[in-house]
């Protein structure tokens, strides 16, 4: 069932182009969500929400005019189209006819989360709490979060693109606090995907185990070393390094404004030949995957680095048109309230030939950064910073004491050039990526990766 009739979408586009413009687009969305928390021993904050809205944009030259309204009613829609059209000054244009759409069916949902009784979800949270607490008497506090959402989107543009997509996402997160005397440490873990309840049927307690183990491990942690050191970065969430240090700089909006250190470097060798990296929005049931992006372009795998050479930027329709290339299916938005901009989907290093043990064995004194609490980059300079949430010393080629409070800082181009080993154990974790006030689910991942040298800012 479509959110708005294709015929109405056609009239909206015609209205939007009443005073000219190169491209008009109408985007409709309906979202339902449910979330639940267990904290302080209690299941709390059950929340449900349902919202619907539509936005219209007209692109004229280098300028974009945009408006949105809550609800899918025809009157509101036509009003937005009219107000957006008022911003342009030219001859009316006729859009290419819209066509009927049905959702792309790329990511199979076996058990829609909405079909599962809320009490079952509450029990899952209780199970996770028990598991985390049973990991050790020093586990003092546990918070478990559950969230599900279904997002139906539909888009039509004046170039004849018509598309629809239905996205079901589910996510479980556990945070454990461990306490020993004055010493307090936290550990967390998550599992999520563009998937249904089936994702949480296979040993969900493992998420709680991992969170508790991290918190307990940190109780024994020593202060982090400081200085320039070799760093082995763990698989899964370790990929946030690639996301921040490289990925944001490949988004075409930053590149076209010369606000990226990767601008003008297409085709250049930016890393050792052992490095290949992808952005892949089509990867089945992955957290950052969709059937199509939010402009109706089917998602796909884009090789951004091939054997160390920079091969592609990440494009939405607008930036692709400017560079005379096709969109790579990276035009994403956090809701109908936002303009689409180039965003990563699932970004990860391709697996290599080494084993994690081999990478570690090659380090005499360094840091093993298993997981990060988050990170940030300034794409224009490439300067990045990451907080290490689980890390260990490497001494004499072996992993020794856990460390706390380590921060990695550096520069994306330099860090990428310093990658000198990649293992084969690719894993992808769930992140939320913020940019220009828009948050979208993004998969971050990699196998174990070794970086010859990075600045470690410690607390020791």
């Amino acid at each position: 069932m479509s959110l708005i009739a294709p015929e109405l979408a056609g009239r909206v586009l015609e209205q939007a182009l009443a005073r000219g413009g190169d491209l008009a687009e109408v985007y409709a969305e309906e979202r339902e969500g449910f979330s639940l928390t267990l904290d302080d021993g209690r299941v709390e904050s059950p929340q449900t929400g349902r919202e619907a809205g539509v936005s219209v944009r007209v692109v004229s030259g280098d300028s974009t005019y945009f408006g949105y309204v809550d609800g899918l009613a025809e009157a509101g829609l036509m009003r937005v189209a009219d107000s957006v059209a008022q911003a342009t000054h030219g001859e009316a244009r006729r859009p290419v006819a819209t066509t009927a759409v049905s959702p792309r069916d790329v990511h199979r949902i076996a058990r829609p989360p909405g079909d599962i009784d809320a009490a079952v979800k509450a029990d899952l949270l209780r199970l996770c709490e028990e598991r985390a607490r049973s990991a050790g008497a020093e586990v003092a506090q546990v918070r478990v979060g559950y969230g599900e959402s279904v997002r139906r989107v539909q888009v039509h543009n004046s170039d004849g693109v018509s598309g629809a997509d239905e996205r079901t996402r589910i996510r479980l997160s556990v945070q454990a606090v461990a306490r020993r005397g004055d010493r307090v440490e936290t550990g967390s873990d998550t599992r999520g995907g563009h998937a249904g309840w089936e994702l949480l049927e296979d040993e969900p307690g493992a998420v709680a185990d991992a969170a508790a183990r991290r918190a307990l491990t940190l109780l024994d942690a020593v202060g982090a070393p400081t200085g320039r050191l070799p760093v082995v970065v763990g698989n899964g969430f370790g990929g946030v390094l690639l996301h921040e240090a490289v990925g944001h700089g490949l988004e075409a909006d930053a590149v076209q404004k010369a606000a990226s250190v990767y601008a003008g470097k297409l085709g250049e060798q930016v890393a050792e030949p052992l490095v290949t990296a992808y952005d892949d929005g089509e990867r089945p049931n992955e957290w950052g995957s969709d059937g199509m992006d939010d402009e109706g372009t089917p998602t796909r795998r884009t090789t951004v680095i091939a054997d160390g050479r920079l091969t592609s930027y990440l494009y939405d329709l607008l930036r692709a048109r400017k560079d005379g290339v096709a969109s790579t299916g990276n035009g994403r938005r956090s809701s109908f309230r936002h303009l689409p901009i180039p965003r990563m989907t699932n970004t990860f290093f391709a697996p290599g030939d080494a084993t994690p043990e081999e990478l570690i064995a090659g380090v005499d004194r360094g840091l093993y950064a298993v997981s990060f609490g988050g990170g940030q980059v300034e794409p224009a300079t490439g300067d990045f910073v990451f907080g290490v949430s689980e890390g260990y010393l490497i001494e004499g080629g072996r992993v020794t004491a856990p460390v706390r409070g380590a921060t990695l800082i550096g520069n994306g181009l330099q860090a990428l050039a310093a990658v000198d080993g990649i293992a084969g154990d690719l894993a992808i974790a769930t992140g939320y990526c913020g940019k220009d006030g828009q948050s979208v689910p993004a998969g971050v991942g990699q196998p174990h990766v070794r970086i010859r040298e990075l600045t470690v800012g410690g607390t020791a």
Partner: protein
Amino acid sequence: MSALEAVASRAVEAALADGADDAEAFGEEQTSRQIRVYGGQVESLSDAGSRGVGVRAFVGQRCGYAYGTDLSEQGLVSVGSAAREAAAVADPDEHAGLPEEFGTTPVEGLASPALGRWPTERKVRLALEIERAARAHTGVTQVEAVVYSDAEGSVVLANSRGFSGAYSATSSWAYASAFAGRDADLMTGLGIGMGRDPEALDAEAIGGEAAERALALVGARQPPSRRCPVVLDAFVSASFVGFIGAMLSADAVQRGRSLFAGREGEEVAHPALALADDATDPEGAASAPFDGEGSPTRRTGLIEDGRLVTFLFDARTARRGGRDSTASASRGSYRSPPSVGTSNLVVSPGEDNLEALVRRTGAGLLVTEVAGLHSGVNPVSGTFSVGASGRLIEDGRLGPPVRELTIASDLVSMLRGVVAVGSEDRWVPVAGSVKSPPLLVAEMSISGA
């Protein structure tokens, strides 16, 4: 009664009719504009309208929440019962419930009529002037973004205990991001201005600030590691203050997630430091006559003469702690239930201007930018290590710019080490709504080369 007030009261009735013992509805209506300019042209212009309602339903000691954008009779009935249904999933909480007392505190000037008198073209000209002002500085190589935004909106709150409140507010703000230097030496700078209407925005000041902040960092290098005194400029101190404010939530404290737990009445900061939460400051972006559950707003001293005076409480945490609410139930939007949070955090200014603080520092570091605060601070222990850039301080004067370094300490040591508070306070809307001057911290650990 306005249409939105009618919506809220209808949603409360719907939840009660469906079996809730108590209910509360929060309605929001807003129109907003955003103008982004680049290279002397409009890059994008957005016009938006949004309207929605969120309902909190209490069934015995259980609480549930639902929201929706369908404000028809049928839509409101369905939001009301969704909230009541959600409550059934929650475990009972003996402290859950609406506040016992309600009320409003008059706050003048939340809505400015001047905003309505500015046509879009004039706002576009303002944004273009900001861009020009930034470019006019020699050495600025690019103005990557200038964004102007404004909003006018109404908020209503109604509950089953007879409270009904409404207010309108306007806001305008703009920022510019300028680049100076090229290639590996390129540095960025941010300029910000905010107020109730565009007349409060000074194009020269916003563009100039972005340019000057970028230019000050050109040629930055990684400094050697050391321990030294650090001056945090107003942007940076506001980021830290926002983080500290979140740790003063009674909810974080009661759940064992705040390093300030059990420290009420203790000396947690240098006597020079005074911090308040003030929802009644007419200039504050988060000011309002009542909080997210209908308690009248006020000014609450949090740290006075270096001593921790109180935490921030909503009705639930106040009951649990045997205290009074500080009217700190905060709401992001109708899409989320109220939770304990700060309104406007205000650090009282001191005597010294920035130049005097730098002189007093002698040898050390001025930090003008921090990155990774959300991942670099352990919220429970308060230890942190965050990325930073700024200028070295040598012989009491600003020296060469530095980047790619981290500053590390823990929040309590940092607060106790604030030996001087600057005189030039300003609003910084980066980590919530914060008004802070620069701060001189006696010692921090710098990691660089």
